[in-house]
């Protein structure tokens, strides 16, 4: 039986508390990993590992946090993500909410796509598919 979203959120909260060293009450569904919770690049690997252990799922490299966007000139033009890049992002991270990012697709705003809710959505999808 798939876990409900509240159960998934609580477990994700526990993962992020341990991985990022923040307090429980800082982990809200809308909190961004980098901006609000202070995640650094090395933390993303730790988060993936802890999610795999907590939920018994396998997270292939780049599936939760895609790493092939910024280096591709087709997807990035100076400081903006191109239309092709936006489509690629949506395909790569369907679990993210693009409503704000689409209005101003700046490269500097890409990290804001990764919120606690993004992770909860991703994990839910993996559990349903399992």
């Amino acid at each position: 039986m798939a876990a409900n979203q509240d159960e998934v959120f609580e477990k994700v909260r526990h993962v992020l508390t341990d991985a990022l060293g923040v307090d429980d009450d800082e982990i809200t569904k809308g909190a961004t990993l980098q901006g609000d919770l202070g995640a650094e690049s090395i933390d993303y690997l730790d988060i993936v590992f802890r999610l795999e252990k907590t939920f018994g799922i396998k997270i292939p490299k780049g599936e939760l946090f895609p790493d092939d966007i910024l280096n591709n000139p087709e997807f990035v033009d100076k400081d903006r993500v191109t239309s092709a890049g936006l489509e690629r992002l949506k395909a790569a991270i369907p679990h993210a909410d693009f409503s704000k990012f689409e209005k101003s697709p700046l490269v500097s705003k890409m990290p804001d796509l990764f919120t606690v809710q993004t992770i909860v959505n991703y994990v839910e999808g993996k559990l349903v598919a399992a």
Binding site: D18, A19, I42, D43, L45, D46, F49, K61
Partner: protein, 166 residues
Amino acid sequence: MRWIWIDSFVEFVPRVRASAEKCVTLAEEAMQDQGFGPPVFPPTLMIEGMAQTAGILVGESRGFSENVILAKIRRASFEGYAGPGDRLRYDAVVDSLDDQAAMTSGIVLRNGEPIGRVDLMFSHVNQAARVLDLPDHNFVFTEQFMSLYRSFCKSGSNEGKPVHGG
């Protein structure tokens, strides 16, 4: 001062686990001039001892061909201290090992009793990846560490089984 905080390996199972020991002595520089009460072995150096134990375990998995650097202390908690005359043991276990990183978990024991837990994350730094502008040579697995590893391999203490690379 040489930066080596383990004295010898007592177990080494490639890609699985390793245990190293360290004897705490009053003669060490880290035990001097602490200025308060009886001297204690700094927990930060116990973390380093675990990092060296686990780091060699991780490095061996790729034949010591890459620099393995400590990327993150995922957890470090201690319920006790060590002092002069104590024998520390670092039991490290590989939790995950792939091209990107290695995760290890470990228990710190003092005279056979658990006093701490240290979980670490290591990154492999490929010699070809120059983004960090690192030296060309292998600056992690120095002769000091390699001699510890080789001494253990030669001793045949690993449950009687050979350890490749020894």
